[in-house]
């Protein structure tokens, strides 16, 4: 049997560090805004009310976190295998494009099969987008960082071309595709709110990835490849095979995010479909300590921050890219907390607390 309680307790200190970095980032923001002559109290009140003031706001915050779960999981699986996949954004878009294409060209085939076909198309496209980068890494020894960045930018331009050209709506008024048919849409969970069934798919995806990474030998080997490739090679793990596998999984996960976004929220393609989900995903994955289950609360945190930032623009006239500053700070603070010298000190400070816990905090999982 899987002991969830034990797993959770083991993950607690790591998750604690993730949460700590978010709190420190917000405290820094408070300091800076006060220093710049604003009222931090009003700022935080607006932030909180904007993100969770009522049922509608909570639904919007959760809605925003769904694409972050999928792209966050994509980053987790690739980073775990030691691949610096900066390309979740491109893989997200590849999935959205392929899935929408299928929905718009379905032409009278069985309606019940439309959604599954869209997902399969998205997975193939996303996995292919990831495969290009990992193929170059494995066969040509070119680092995946630059290639995944390039593949993001290519995907953005293909999307722009599609919605200005071949997939532009019949009316031809806006650079967007036609709306996908009703059978291609995911149902909403609560009447009157936009939160849709994609939320459930997101939770299931996180659980499945956790199972794969921590309860199956295949996941153990995948993590070993990332954690210590030399040792993994000595243990006769085929490094290349697991790198490719990780990237195919990452591509398919991010692509699921793309098709879920179209299917659940927008109903059509347009140019700014992803306002940089693949980059926020890196912050999400790091704050989750590269743990699939941790991705869920981390994504909600950043989804809420994004919704809050829009309230901030509406009420206080602050640019919504405000959320970017917090994201960047979170990443940088996590890096600082991970620095050996700083980490040792932090651990000593926490030792007293940890000693009183029934299970000692393990490194991963």
């Amino acid at each position: 049997m899987i002991d969830f309680r034990k797993a959770l307790l083991r993950a607690a200190p790591a998750l604690g560090r993730g949460a700590l970095s978010f709190v420190v980032a917000l405290a820094l923001v408070a300091l800076l805004t006060t220093w710049a002559g604003y009222d931090a109290g009003v700022l935080f009140h607006t932030l909180f009310a904007g993100a969770a003031g009522d049922g509608y706001r909570i639904s919007e915050s959760l809605l925003r976190s769904i694409p972050l779960v999928f792209t966050g999981l994509a980053v987790v699986v690739s980073f775990r295998a030691g691949l610096w996949n900066i390309g979740a954004d491109g893989q997200f878009l590849a999935g959205a494009m392929a899935g929408t294409f299928v929905a718009l060209h379905w032409n009278g085939m069985a309606q019940v099969l439309m959604l599954p076909a869209m997902f399969v198309a998205a997975w193939v496209a996303g996995a292919f987008w990831g495969w290009i980068a990992v193929w170059i890494r494995v066969r040509r020894e070119v680092n995946e960082v630059i290639t995944t960045i390039m593949l993001n930018l290519i995907a953005v331009q293909i999307l722009a071309w599609l919605v200005h050209g071949p997939l532009q709506e019949q009316a031809g008024a806006y650079p967007q595709s036609d709306a996908v048919p009703a059978a291609a849409r995911l149902p909403v969970l609560f009447a009157g709110l936009r939160l849709h069934a994609g939320a459930i798919i997101a939770v299931v995806a996180a659980l499945l990835l956790w199972l794969l990474l921590f309860r199956f030998a295949i996941g153990l080997r995948l993590r070993a490849v990332g954690h210590n490739p030399r040792a993994a090679r000595f243990a006769r793990v085929a490094l290349e095979r697991y790198r490719i596998l990780a990237m195919l999984l990452a591509g398919a996960l991010a692509a699921t995010g793309g098709i879920v976004e179209v299917s659940g929220v927008t109903g059509r393609l347009y140019e700014n479909l992803s306002p940089g989900y693949g980059f926020t995903a890196i912050a999400v994955a790091l704050i989750a300590r590269l743990h699939p289950i941790g991705v869920l609360p981390a994504a909600v945190l950043f989804g809420a921050l994004d919704t809050a930032a829009r309230a901030l623009e509406r009420d206080l006239g602050v640019s919504p890219v405000f959320a970017d500053i917090v994201q960047a700070q979170v990443i940088l603070i996590i890096i600082l907390l991970e620095t050996p010298a700083i980490r040792t000190r932090l651990q000593r400070a926490l030792a007293g607390v940890q000693a009183r816990m029934p299970f000692r905090g393990g490194e991963h999982a």
Binding site: E141, V318, A328, A341
Partner: protein, 305 residues
């Protein structure tokens, strides 16, 4: 040579210049073993600083100094992580890009408000070089430009020479190829990488300054529009050689100029696919050529024993 070709080529040089600055700056950093993917952010920060100072002093020279200073400060923050605590360069660079986008966006709005009117700043005027400007075609294309274009040409040649011929340049390459060996030979890898990041960021900052003081005479949120990433592509295509980077940047500049021209005279090219060209070329190049000339220790944090 047809009549429209000369302004077209001159336009290509203008479009290429910020790419040259950023790509040559990145070459310096990558040669020392530091992969700084935050070029986009560095350019943005420099652009805002240049716009702000030029707006209030009406002096493009002061704006230029401020832009470069801001870029160096931004580079120092990157170095604090990448060299100071040996953090992962990729994750740090990603964070720095996001940070710059947020910071410049929020600062721009709080400094200039959100009125919708474009901010207008003074810029550098063309400054034709005596004698050289009278050479047919080349005189107009290269030597009737402004001072920043000349700076890009001269700095590229200087960096190429410095990397090959000076002691610091060779030490720098040693730090990027074999940091352990370099350290044994008495070279301070940390100091060289710090130096590389500061010089590289300063150059990259000039690219951001150029966007404000020559190309746009204004600041717009996110105005770098991917140029920092194109510069990363150029470095690969140029195989870490400054002069080749200049050539590749000019080719990309010409391609953009041609595409503007085609749009202007109503030829219907799918310009989005055109915009993807530098990135597609880089992918194809990586597929075909592989890791030729990559500094061996690129993106690997150096941890002193």
């Amino acid at each position: 040579m047809p009549e429209f070709a000369v302004p077209l080529l001159a336009g290509a040089v203008t479009l290429a210049t910020p790419l040259v600055f950023a790509a040559v700056g990145e070459i310096i950093m990558e040669k020392s073993g530091v992969l700084n993917i935050a070029l986009e952010g560095t350019m943005l920060v420099a652009a805002l600083a240049a716009a702000f100072v030029t707006y209030f002093t009406a002096s493009p020279a002061a704006g230029l100094a401020a832009g470069v200073a801001a870029a160096v400060l931004f580079g120092l923050l990157f170095a604090l992580f990448a060299v100071g605590i040996q953090a992962d360069q990729i994750v740090t660079g990603t964070a720095m890009n996001i940070f710059a986008l947020g910071l410049t966006g929020v600062l721009y709005r709080s400094l200039f408000g959100f009125s919708g009117t474009r901010l207008a700043v003074a810029g550098f005027q063309p400054w034709p070089l005596p004698f050289l400007k009278d050479i047919p075609v080349i005189g107009t294309v290269f030597f009737s430009q402004n001072v920043l274009v000349y700076a890009a040409l001269v700095l590229t040649l200087l960096v190429a020479a410095a990397l090959k011929r000076t002691r610091t340049g060779l030490y720098l390459q040693a730090a990027g190829e074999n940091p352990q060996g370099a350290e044994v030979a008495g070279i301070s890898v940390y100091r060289l990488r710090l130096l590389a990041i500061m010089t590289g960021s300063a150059l990259c900052g000039l690219g951001g300054v150029f966007l404000v003081l020559v190309e746009g005479n204004t600041f717009v949120e996110g105005m770098t529009a991917g140029r920092g990433f194109i510069a990363l592509a150029i470095v690969i295509l140029a195989r870490w050689q400054p002069v080749r980077a200049l050539v590749v940047a000019l080719v990309f500049g010409l391609a953009s100029a041609l595409q503007f021209q085609a749009q202007a005279i109503g030829i219907d090219v799918p310009y989005q696919l055109f915009l993807a060209l530098p990135y597609v070329l880089t992918i194809l190049f990586a597929m075909l050529v592989g890791r030729a000339n990559v500094p061996a220790a690129l993106a690997k944090p150096y941890i002193k024993e």
